[in-house]
Symmetry: C2
Subunit: 566 residues, 2 copies
């Protein structure tokens, strides 16, 4: 018998994905996209990784210690997992990439150490990481929007016309106003996505951090067209103390095909990796998730998890109008040479989880409710919900909106409500898709990724029926980590066995599942009618100065219900 040697020259990249509740590492073979090892670390702090305050429902923070512990645990775990695979050797890891949630900034001192590690602030939630879904800065967001509308309208044009309470400057300004001790002690604020590569490469000192254009452009009003971050006059007019923060920020931001630096000896040892491995500039999970889903012009990538991100790209050599209500249009935030366009829903899986975990209807879990909801026909329940339990990110850009369920009767069941909540998120997704298309970005293909898309056939079929488009599902179940690994393969470069660019990486490493969810024509027709009602409520409750007589909405729903049942 001949001995068949393990394949030679297999090279690997590691993608690190820092989510809302856990960190994940993924070891990927760069020529095939094969995922050879993975590990997940659940953040131990707070409520599933989120520090909450029962008196302030808008507050959501994280402990940066969870990130460092998670980094070490999940890389080592993924390496052990990969070691089971033929031909894997730690020495063949050629690059790393990082994605995180955002805007998730943390205050750091002049040496780059988080204030949260300072004994003075250890117990202070304001010194922790301000998680993306923290909305405490809604008043400051309104103030920034109003000031920019008067003085710097171009700042708003690229972020949907409204600066969000989720974003960088809203959070920092709210901290300045409500926790001046923390604000004064902070030298600067660093996005989680920038902080992780900085830590890994020994570049945590604020003067050396390479800040990513993804976070800077989408959340901090950075644009090379106006010289980078917002100018000092503008920030000073909001609060003179912001000028000091502005002066700590660099003039240039980087895209994820550029390196943040090389892995330090210390971290190489901790992680069991070769020293000097290049680490890509960090980006947000949605952006690298889109990369890991094979985003290209005409493809809408929907990352469906606790919330969604709806991502598109458009070539920078074509003209592109500002799109009202879009969270951001940022050059090179997803792919070099392309505008990155980010839309999204503030809560999707979070709404389903709220219903199952907080309301706990009839003690039923997702599987039981999904099973019952699958047996219902569109329109049958007469229910219609607004999916605004965590505000509306796109196209209304308004965190001060709330969820609604309408059409309730004495017979409305938990499964009917569950289905109505799923449908509401589908209607929200359709509003976003239609907004892209209205502004000339035709959607010829939809690729879903994220846990819900892989697990829940009901949700995918409803999305197909409501959006009227086939729903593809990304082959990888962990596209942000895959996208981060692709960034690692690109910064490693072709010579090291990686890829020359994202285009080559996408061809080699991404794909979709065979199973496709196609719209059912009859369901689609019913949902078209319900969507018109959704849009009426959406505009009546969400758009200022709309003038709408809503009195026929419920009757129309009942008529649809009766028609379906007849």
């Amino acid at each position: 018998m001949e001995h068949i040697p393990a394949p030679l020259n297999r090279k690997f990249s590691i993608g690190l994905d820092f989510g809302t509740s856990s960190a994940r590492a993924l070891v990927v073979e760069v020529s095939s996209g094969e995922e050879v090892g993975t590990a997940v670390y659940d953040y131990p702090s707070g409520d599933q990784g989120v520090l909450l305050d029962p008196r302030e429902p808008d507050l959501a923070r994280q402990n940066p210690r969870d990130y460092l512990d998670g980094l070490q645990e999940c890389v080592r775990g993924a390496m052990r997992d990969a070691a089971k695979s033929d031909g894997f050797s730690a020495g063949d890891v050629i690059g790393m990439g990082v994605d995180t949630t955002g805007s998730t900034p943390l205050p750091v001192d002049s040496g780059g150490t988080p204030l949260a590690f300072d004994p003075r602030f250890r117990e202070d939630v304001n010194a922790q990481v301000w998680l993306w879904k923290d909305h405490t800065g809604h008043a400051e967001a309104a103030e920034i929007t109003s000031r920019a509308r008067d003085a710097r309208p171009h700042y708003l044009a690229k972020c949907g016309g409204t600066y969000s309470s989720e974003w960088f400057w809203s959070k920092i300004l709210h901290c300045a106003r409500t926790a001046p001790d923390v604000f004064d002690a902070a030298y600067t604020w660093v996005e989680h996505a920038d902080w992780m590569p900085a830590i890994l490469t020994g570049n945590a000192n604020p003067s050396r951090i390479r800040r990513g254009v993804c976070a800077a452009g989408h959340k901090a009003m950075y644009n090379s067209a106006w010289g980078g971050y917002p100018d000092e006059d503008f920030l000073g007019s909001l609060d003179h103390r912001l000028v000091r923060v502005r002066r700590t920020l660099p003039s240039r931001a980087y895209h994820a095909a550029e390196p943040a630096g090389m892995l330090t000896e210390e971290w190489a040892e901790r992680l069991g990796l070769p020293e000097g491995v290049p680490v890509a500039v960090g980006a947000f999970d949605a952006h690298l998730g889109a990369v890991g889903s094979g985003i290209r012009p005409g493809t809408l990538v929907r990352i469906v998890g606790t919330s969604t991100c709806d991502m598109m790209v458009a070539p920078m050599d074509d003209p592109l109008a500002d799109i009202p209500g879009l969270c951001g249009i940022v050059p090179e935030s997803v792919l070099p040479g392309q505008y990155g366009l980010e839309a999204g829903q503030s809560a999707v899986g979070d709404i389903f989880n709220w219903f199952v975990r907080v309301i706990r209807p009839d003690g039923k879990d997702h599987a039981a409710l999904t099973g019952e909801a699958e047996r219902l026909r569109p329109g049958e329940s007469g229910l219609l919900a607004l999916d605004w339990h965590n505000g509306n990110r796109t196209v209304l850009v308004d965190q001060r909106l709330t969820g609604m369920i309408l059409g309730l009767t004495l017979h409305s069941t938990p499964a009917e409500i569950y289905r109505a909540l799923v449908e509401a998120t589908a209607f929200g997704a359709r509003v976003i898709m239609e907004r892209f298309e209205e502004y000339g970005l035709g959607v010829d293909r939809i690729v879903n990724c994220g846990g819900i898309s892989a697990r829940n056939r009901l949700v995918m079929q409803i999305y197909a029926d409501v959006m009227g488009r086939a729903q593809h599902i990304s082959r990888s179940s962990q596209t942000p980590a895959l996208g981060a690994a692709m960034a690692g393969a690109v910064v490693a470069g072709e010579a090291a066995g990686g890829h020359a660019d994202f285009d080559a990486a996408a061809r080699a490493m991404t794909g979709v599942q065979e199973a496709v969810f196609h719209p059912d024509p009859q369901n689609r027709q019913i949902y078209d009618g319900i969507f018109r009602l959704y849009k009426r409520l959406h505009d009546a409750f969400g758009v200022r100065d709309s003038r709408d007589d809503l009195s026929d909405v419920m009757k129309a729903l009942l008529a649809i219900r009766d028609e379906v049942r007849a």
Copy 2:
């Protein structure tokens, strides 16, 4: 030791109360109102006494057999209970009265036998009793309203401007249209309130039934001013077959201080009562409940159960305008010489029960949810509901409205929703009270009765705070049965040891509890603000041609929430 004899000359009346799920008999001493015996019989048929059809959520029927079995069981049970009391003797029962739900008509043959007892129709839901909350006739109700608006506007003026799907002619017309076999087999239709006294007195033959003015006036467009029931031309214009039904109806209806007849030998034996006891003409539970609560001009009696009735009376010698949206203004439907005014909410306890029994949030029962909801402050949850899960009876008179919950976040708890549902019913109650007052019927005293008022302090305090009025609670926990017993005492007459009239009966037999719920000024102020928002939604969703920008509603709720928490 002297022997003290039991008091002499104690006389008793029996009140029979037929509710939605059970029948009750109450034995009352007529000089004091002392309730010496009671018994309840749960209807065995259907779902808690209601026959449902899963394909038709508007359908709600009852089995008339349950009424007859309930009559016998609960009178005998109440007599056994009374027999434990000193000085009670069956021979001292001097009168009986009956109340039922309504409009709850049943089809009978020419001998007065329910079609439901005919083997041909035993399994046919359309041959059973059409329970008050059956809304299958909504299309017919709209047709009757429209036809009357054109041809007989005075018919509508006394029933709030809209003929309801809950009422007599809507149900009969719907039967004619959808179940012609049942309709053709029926000689006439009899209200449950009229059928029970007819059975007890041997007057079930349609030619001998004394129909009550309460049912006829409030539900069948009967008014002595236009010669009784609607004329044949009008009914014939809706459907020529209704003319035949019209011809089975008498020219005069009776109030509850008039006798329907005397107890037959057969029923006297079955019930263990003296033959020949006078039985009062039947009336609806709400009307006799108001009597049992001591209704008088200026007193709003609120019967708070699965639904509510909000009752007032006004002297017939004073002029009284038509009141838009009021279910009915009917001479002598409550007290002789007074207009009876009936308003009400289509669902109150039913909404709380839906939440606890159908949604089953976190497995919590009413007590657990009430306990948690009591610890919440007004406005704290940011939630606002519309209490239209079973339509809106007053002031919108529209069964095609549905419930709504607005202001949901990912943190909204079952107790918060439960409280919001209670508050919604309180706002609904306030709309009704304000409508009475707008039309000159000042409310100087509110007396609540019904199970919820006696059991649930949270509900009563919220009603006080939302309505801005002290809430009294009727001393009796079974005011409809007490009112029916009072009718029995009045038809018995003073000479037999009863009462000359309802006024005398009320002085002797009714009262309120010592505990009174007073408005908390701070809560009241918060609720005034939330009520304004409720009214905006109420009008936007419930009133045709209203023009309202609703986009600030949610923000206003959140602002109130934040203010309360601050």
